[in-house]
């Protein structure tokens, strides 16, 4: 076999320009695959982190039925059992209690229906990044029970600025009318319309007092170590927490449309990757076919001398393997370096930041690729380069020696 490997290897140097074009096609193709995958991975991961991090959290625990029909009557009591389960679940890093209710907010200039959120100013910072989105004023502190944060668009609609008073009205858990005035302490701007237009935040204590909840909460928002741990943590919590009384929902269940978007994005990306792979495969096929055509006479001589068809197939496939190996190595290296470079420095897409923010994407995308992704794509490209060469290899092995020798 060594002579056939030698022939295959030396054939690469026989037509340097052709080999270089093939190697470049494989390298650029694989590099694009790795970079594109890294870009989409990075963007989607940032999007999922932003989406869950902003307010939703990774997992929410409610009284059963709360997610479908949000009301103060479905508040959680007996929190210690749930908290104990959370503390004993290794993936659940932090959690925070919240009150959630629909309410009416009004100012002297107008009124609007909103989602009222009561948060613990200290622990909320562990599960969400909403405190980072206060662009005027400041986030609530412990004891700020007479203060409120409102969305930027809501602030504009109500013409309520920092220091102005607004009134919140709702129905308390005992059926009485809940109403209280709060001073605007901060304006939240996220880029997400439903938050900027329809969210107001007060302290957990203030919300419990307003809605007469007697220490009860609407939900416990949980953040796991990373998004990858969400499924495992959900499974454990569902097993530990009585599902007849409570509901444990992860972000995919809370916002299936966002999760489906990410899945669609992954499928679409794979489709693009498949097209890139097809282009690479066609390039390799074309080059190897040309190489076989160019050496028809030589293959004819080899067959006439008694070379077995299998040995011809091996020679052509080995040549393709070497081209694929060099191309794969350089492509994987280039792709990895690109992902590492842009992963550290980011790709600035701030020219379309409005559109990106609406979809929870960041203006700066940091590509991320795992070694497994890189290894899988490299293996696929290498396999394709060998597999695709079987067509010209079989063509070469089936040549009639006489006709091949006559070939000019």
């Amino acid at each position: 076999m060594s002579t056939f490997i030698k022939i295959a290897w030396r054939n690469i140097a026989r037509s340097p320009a052709r080999s270089l074009i093939t190697i470049s096609a494989i390298s650029i193709g694989l590099c694009s695959l790795i970079f594109l995958k890294g870009f989409v991975n990075g963007a989607d991961q940032q999007m999922a982190e932003n989406y869950t991090g902003l307010l939703i959290g990774h997992i929410q625990i409610h009284k059963k039925g709360f997610q479908k029909n949000m009301s103060v009557e479905k508040s959680l009591g007996g929190l210690e059992t749930i908290k104990d389960a959370l503390r004993k679940t290794p993936q659940t890093a932090v959690f925070s209690e919240r009150v959630k209710d629909f309410a009416l907010i009004s100012s002297p200039e107008g009124s609007a229906g909103i989602l009222l959120l009561g948060v613990d100013p200290v622990t909320e910072k562990n599960v969400s990044t909403i405190h980072k989105r206060v662009n005027k004023g400041e986030f609530l502190k412990k004891g700020d029970d007479d203060k409120i944060l409102i969305g930027a668009q809501l602030s504009g609609n109500l013409k309520a600025e920092i220091g102005d008073k607004v009134v919140i009205m709702s129905q308390a858990s005992d059926g009485s009318v809940a109403a209280a005035a709060y001073e605007v302490a901060g304006i939240i701007e996220t880029g997400a319309e439903e938050i900027d237009k329809g969210l107001a935040i007060i302290t957990l204590k203030a919300a419990q007092s307003l809605l007469v909840l007697n220490g009860k909460v609407s939900e416990i928002a949980v953040k796991t170590g990373s998004l990858k741990e969400v499924d495992a943590a959900t499974k454990i919590l569902k097993a530990k927490i009585d599902q007849a009384k409570f509901e444990v929902l992860n972000w995919k269940e809370i916002s299936p449309q966002v999760y489906q978007w990410l899945q669609f994005d992954a499928v679409f990306t794979n489709l693009i990757l498949f097209i890139v792979l097809l282009v690479v495969a066609t390039g390799i096929l074309n080059t190897i076919l040309m190489a076989v055509l160019e050496r028809t006479r030589e293959f004819g001589i080899m067959l006439a001398l008694g070379t077995r068809p299998g040995q011809i197939v091996f020679t052509v496939a080995a040549e393709s393997f070497f081209l694929g190996l060099i191309g794969t190595f350089t492509g994987a290296l280039l792709g990895t370096l690109l992902v590492i470079f842009f992963g550290a420095n980011g790709i600035d897409l701030s020219v379309i930041s409005n559109a990106l923010n609406t979809l929870y994407y960041d203006s700066i995308i940091y590509p991320r690729s795992g070694w497994i992704d890189i290894a899988i794509y490299s293996l696929i490209v290498l396999t394709v380069s060998i597999t695709i060469s079987i067509i010209p290899a079989l063509k070469a092995s089936r040549l009639s020696p006489i006709e091949a020798i006559r070939h000019i």
Binding site: K6, R14, E298, I301, A304, G306, R308, I405
Partner: protein, 226 residues
């Protein structure tokens, strides 16, 4: 002496692709060639020399008739057996040198021996020895592109005879060489044929080759005329 080749009523006709036009390349040839002979098959272009050589060399099949080479009836072999037969019994020297361009002179010389499974050490030693005998000891590591036409043809001869076949078929081996080089080459093959007991058959229209042949077979329009 026994016959190494026995041909009975051999005919070969070709039908042009896409039409029913038939042309006769060989017409009812009966022929016997003695073992160890040095034979020139002569004739003008289109007389059937190469076709006859290809059929004897198991590269082509007859339309009718029987060809027996070294006791083997070629029509009884399938394509895989024919390839094996070529590998073990026949050496080829083609008109346009036809070496594997990516292999060096010594690697080209070893090629057939390699296919026959001869050990690495033995075939390297014998390849070097034969190249040395052919005056190519300084060219062993050169590739075909770095050799002259005469040197390439000598490497092709070395490749053909290294595995000591029963029969060497050479199609116009001197066609691309100057007369002096061609004459030296034929003398070389003649010497090797008699030394090693190999039967040489040439297809040629070179008068010098015909003059040096022990047996001359003349073809015209697919028939033996002398």
């Amino acid at each position: 002496m026994s016959s190494i080749i026995n041909i009975q009523r051999l005919s070969k006709t070709y039908t042009e692709k896409g039409s029913n036009i038939r042309s006769t390349a060989l017409d009812d040839i009966t022929l016997a060639i003695e073992s160890g002979d040095f034979v020139a098959i002569a004739g003008p272009s289109g007389s059937g020399k190469t076709t006859l050589l290809n059929i004897i060399g198991a590269l082509d099949t007859p339309t009718s008739g029987e060809v027996v080479v070294d006791g083997t009836l070629l029509s009884s072999l399938n394509s895989a057996r024919l390839a094996e037969f070529r590998l073990k019994k026949i050496g080829f020297v083609f008109q346009a040198y036809n070496l594997v361009t990516t292999l060096t002179a010594i690697e080209n010389t070893e090629y057939v021996a390699l296919l026959q499974g001869i050990s690495n050490k033995r075939r390297q030693h014998e390849a070097y020895q034969i190249l040395k005998d052919l005056g190519l000891e300084n060219c062993v590591n050169r590739r075909p592109g770095e050799l002259s036409g005469g040197q390439q043809q000598r490497v092709a001869i070395a490749r053909a005879i290294l595995a000591q076949p029963k029969l060497v078929l050479a199609d116009e081996p001197t066609a691309n060489l100057d007369s002096r080089t061609g004459s030296d080459l034929i003398d070389l093959m003649k010497t090797m044929g008699s030394t090693l007991g190999i039967t040489f058959i040439f297809a040629t229209h070179d008068k010098m080759v015909m003059d040096k042949a022990k047996t001359l077979i003349q073809l015209h329009d697919g028939k033996i005329i002398a």
